[in-house]
């Protein structure tokens, strides 16, 4: 049985100091906020977190910054977070800047049994320093290693009790690759639907990647509200 009554129970026995956690989400869109809040309460420390961003101040992964539970981030962009900048510039936190597509592919590869891959992304930049270079068809590539996380935390729109999950619009983002790369994956969903309620042809993440399920309790937030004015007819 994969469905747990609370986030605490869903994460029970899975948490340890110094572990590597992969988290889904892009900005505040599609983040597993119920599970992140539970990590804050758990008090585990020295975490390495692979996530495209680090939330914003006091929201999402930003909460784990406030409590100093993160030792290192593996991210492509941390620009919306003043506390991150402060801890980084004072040497309290480490970051492995990883190009966004390389990060997604490192996660996907980790879940797909691929140890690493060669990519042209980052050739000639700081990202390539210390990495194996190899030419294919006359073009230089660098070797990037897969990420296999101790724990993956992700957020879906709908999930059935077997773990088959469906995401909504751009909230899908890093959630499927993050789920794939976890040795264990805990998924929170807006709706836990009965078996048979999802069309098998329209499942985005097969249940084999999902080990534990919990109801999401978080409120969705908008980072940049941009609108247009409706033109009023005569």
């Amino acid at each position: 049985m994969k469905v747990f009554a609370t986030a605490q129970e869903a994460l029970s026995g899975l948490l340890a100091d110094g572990m590597l956690i992969a988290a889904g989400g892009f900005g505040l869109c599609g983040i597993p906020e119920t599970l992140i809040d539970c990590l804050v309460e758990s008090g585990i420390r020295n975490l390495t977190i692979a996530s495209n961003n680090c939330g914003v101040d006091d929201v999402g992964l930003g909460r784990l910054l406030t409590t100093r539970q993160i030792r290192k981030m593996i991210s492509s962009y941390v620009g919306e977070n003043a506390e991150f900048m402060r801890q980084y510039l004072s040497g309290e936190i480490e970051i492995e800047f990883t190009p966004q597509g390389t990060l997604a592919e490192r996660m996907r590869a980790g879940g797909a049994g691929i140890a690493g891959f060669y990519t042209r992304t980052g050739v000639g930049t700081e990202v390539a320093v210390g990495k194996e270079h190899k030419d294919f068809d006359g073009r230089t590539h660098i070797l990037e290693r897969a990420i296999v996380a101790d724990l993956a935390i992700v957020k879906a729109w709908k999930v059935d009790p077997s773990g088959n999950a469906v995401f909504r619009k751009t909230a899908r983002n890093f959630n499927p690759p993050a789920a794939m790369c976890g040795k264990v994956c805990v998924l929170e969903a807006e709706e836990i639907v009965p078996l048979g309620a999802l069309d098998p042809d329209e499942v985005h993440l097969p249940g084999v990647y999902v080990h534990r399920i919990v109801q999401s309790r978080a409120e969705k937030r908008i980072e940049q509200r941009t609108v247009r004015v409706r033109e009023v007819g005569p």
């Binding site: 190009p99 000639g124 899908r172």
Partner: protein, 216 residues
Amino acid sequence: MSWTRQQMAARAARELQPGSYVNLGIGIPTLVPNFMPADFNVTFQSENGMLGIGPFPFEGEEDADLINAGKQTVSELPHSCYFDSATSFAMIRGGKIAMAILGAMEVSETGDLANWTVPGKLVKGMGGAMDLVAGVGRVVVVMEHCSKDGSPKLLKRCRLPLTGQSVVDRIITDLGVFDVTGEGLLIVECAPGVDAQQILERTDAAVLQATSAAVL
């Protein structure tokens, strides 16, 4: 005279090919769709997992699950589709996206691009920029020709850490349009009232003129 931000975006819109797939960076590039002919049928890709970005939603129709790569709320179109981040960058690295229009802090005469960090000052991250410049068919940069203090941003060599090496194809600034060639930056077009001499005075990179093909 030189081009305003809006005029630079309008000039960049002329780079769009009908029926193509294009990724736009943040800043001036986000203004480009405003200047695209309605029948052009260009599909814009957002690297957080969407093809077919629609306009900003009407007030009251914002959806927290529907944002662009700048984290702004957007809307969907009849041909829109969604996918995960690994699939998104597969199409970028795989050369399926014809063009990216991006901003820049510095560009070198060999097409090196720097637009992601200022050591010690701006430590935000490269996002998807390194993947885009390494993967898309054509990279067009839209940028101010000089920084606020008047120093050139088109350089012999970039001083800032690179986003990509020899990746830029064309540069659109407030002073004109330039192509990266083997020998330097070729003036393709001057903004109204701007001449080659003025461009030369404001550029550190080697500048070439099509008429004479001589290095200025």
